[in-house]
């Protein structure tokens, strides 16, 4: 035990550099987002009115606070474009997380029932696509889904359709891209909990007369709930703010909120509105983020 206590203080010192780094480059920037979301857009560089300059003292601070405005947030609440954008993001994230769960669960379940020496190989096979470039994977689907792409060629060769189907720039393409890109994030936490289930419990259920299906629903599924939760959060939160996949695969008629933020920032140069969108998105994601943080902390620090 002597060593354990000796280690604690230097280990605490190890926290200093990463702590300061994350304060400076992760937490502090949110302060700037909040500040600029409360200011007015101007045609300048940078394109927002500075809200507060500490060099000008208390009087200036009062004036600055008086100048803070909620106009950007009022705009977000009153303009249907933004409201619909948020709604669509949440709906898309919910739908794709459900599809991911429906596809990922049988795969993770199959993995957990493989002979023990095959399981690490199956896990590597699932992880490898996660390591290959995300952009490459989305691009691969453009190849397949485009007008004269492989999917249409195959469908026409099989005489399932008589003319090429429009796949690109549709919601179907976007869902395919989302499910494809996030599948490893769903499978791995599911597999981690499924692999830990004690086979004795399944045998006990069978001995007590449970059929395979009853055992699955009454034993396996409840025991894998932590994995379901972790996988769902790991997919849902980033998908709500996803930009590249809807931008490349979906149509431009109804953008998701990540696309709207991008549009306000890069095309309209309206930094205050873009910041306000980010603030609202963050608030929207706060509850799932806090739950996720707790799950992650328990998962990683419970192993000690």
């Amino acid at each position: 035990m002597s060593g354990r206590r000796l280690f604690a203080t230097p280990a605490r010192r190890a926290a200093v550099a990463p702590f300061l780094w994350m304060l400076l480059f992760f937490l502090l920037p949110f302060g700037f987002v909040l500040k600029i979301s409360l200011s007015h857009a101007v045609m300048a560089q940078p394109p927002y009115l500075p809200v507060f300059d500490p060099a000008e003292g208390i009087a200036a601070l009062k004036a600055a606070i008086a100048a803070l405005s909620l106009d950007n947030f009022r705009l977000l609440a009153s303009d249907h474009f933004y409201v619909l954008s948020y709604l669509r993001s949440v709906v898309v994230a919910l739908v794709s997380t459900s599809i991911l769960l429906a596809i990922g669960y049988p795969i993770a379940y199959g993995m957990s029932r493989l002979p023990a020496r095959w399981q690490p190989i199956a896990m590597i096979l699932v992880i490898v696509p996660f390591w290959t470039s995300f952009l490459v994977r989305v691009y691969a689907w453009i190849n397949i889904l485009q007008h004269d792409g492989i999917l249409n060629n195959v469908l026409m060769a099989l005489r399932l359709v008589s003319a090429p189907v429009v796949w690109l720039s549709t919601d179907a393409a976007m869902y395919i891209g989302l499910v494809y890109s996030y599948l490893p994030f769903m499978i791995l936490p599911l597999y981690a909990t499924l692999a830990k289930i004690d086979p004795a419990l399944l045998e006990a259920s069978a001995d007590l007369g449970g059929s395979r299906l009853t055992t699955f629903w009454l034993v396996t599924v409840p025991l894998s709930l932590p994995g379901i939760g972790a996988g769902a959060l790991l997919c849902f939160i980033p998908i709500v703010g996803e930009f590249v996949i809807p931008d490349l695969l979906a149509g431009s008629a109804s953008p998701m909120i990540g696309q709207t933020l991008w549009l306000e920032f890069f095309n309209n140069h309206d930094w205050p509105v873009a910041s306000a969108i980010a603030v609202v998105l963050l608030v929207l994601l706060l509850a799932p983020l806090l739950v996720y943080e707790r799950v992650q902390r328990r998962r990683l620090e419970g192993t000690r």
């Binding site: 280990a11 926290a15 550099a17 490459v136 190849n143 599948l183 983020l289 000690r304």
Partner: protein, 273 residues
């Protein structure tokens, strides 16, 4: 007959879902690789095997300079992220409880799922507020911030499963904690530190959104460049570039798994993520 009971656990449904799942994960990449060798300009009409799109890439100055930029950003940010992330993992697994621990772990886990548009925008606003010249260093700082969190998770899961009596024995035998860490702990966690560095490198080579926010004129990274080309439509040259990316990642993964097999015979191998 020995394998029989193990295989009996697999129902036909299990086998089908595994096979379909793996096909779904790999088929698009395989198709992409095959078509990168297509001689035809039309992406989906087969015109025989050819390397012309690879030649096109190696003659594309803008693409090559974007690649060079990305490699530099990825190398520097992955190295910084590995140092910071390993320190953070040590603190989280070895320091017990300390002031701000919840905030610390929260700041390290949140970026893993934080939508990239938020991270990118917030970092850009910070850089603008301090009037930093945007370019190589701002992208590198942004990537370090994101990827050090992934390094922390990878190294932390290894540190958590490590037998601590070894480092305690080293200290009982007179090592100070720093020496015990360098001589005992670090060699044991080295495979996961290397895995963390590689994950950080690949993530940096892959990022479009955060780099778009934090980069400046003249510092285009490869993903930004590919992204703007893809937006304009499919070009066979992009197939070639993507195949090169997949190929180099495959080489790295095979090399890494060989290294970790050679260096960590001592048992449980914490998987990256």
């Amino acid at each position: 007959m020995m394998a029989r009971p193990a295989l009996a656990r697999l129902s036909p449904f299990n086998i089908t879902s595994l096979a379909l799942g793996l096909a779904f994960l790999y088929l698009p990449i395989v198709i992409l690789v095959i078509y990168s060798f297509n001689a035809s300009r039309l992406v989906t009409v087969w015109g025989g095997w050819s390397l012309r799109w690879y030649m096109a890439f190696f003659n594309d100055e803008a693409m090559l300079s974007a690649l060079a930029m990305s490699l530099r950003v990825a190398a520097v940010s992955a190295t910084a992220a590995t140092i910071l992330g390993t320190l953070a993992a040590v603190a989280l697994t070895r320091a017990g409880s300390f002031h701000g621990r919840t905030l610390f772990s929260g700041m390290l886990y949140a970026p893993l799922v934080m939508p990239e548009v938020i991270t990118g925008l917030s970092l850009l606003l910070l850089f603008v507020a301090v009037d930093a010249q945007r370019g190589f260093w701002t992208v590198t700082i942004a990537h370090t911030t994101l990827t050090m969190c992934f390094v922390t998770v990878v190294v932390q899961s290894r540190l958590g499963s490590l037998d601590r009596s070894l480092e305690e024995a080293a200290m009982d035998l007179g090592c100070d904690p720093f020496l015990a860490f360098v001589k005992v702990t670090l060699p044991l966690i080295l495979p996961s530190v290397v895995a963390g560095w590689m994950l950080a490198f690949t993530l940096s080579m892959d990022d479009v959104v955060i780099a778009s926010f934090t980069t400046g004129p003249g510092s285009t990274t490869l993903p930004i460049r590919i992204y703007s080309e893809v937006r304009l439509g499919v070009k066979p040259e992009i197939n070639a570039i993507c195949t090169l990316i997949v190929g180099s990642i495959a080489v790295v993964i095979v090399a890494a798994s060989l290294v970790s097999k050679l260096s960590s015979r001592q048992g449980e191998n914490a998987a990256p993520l």
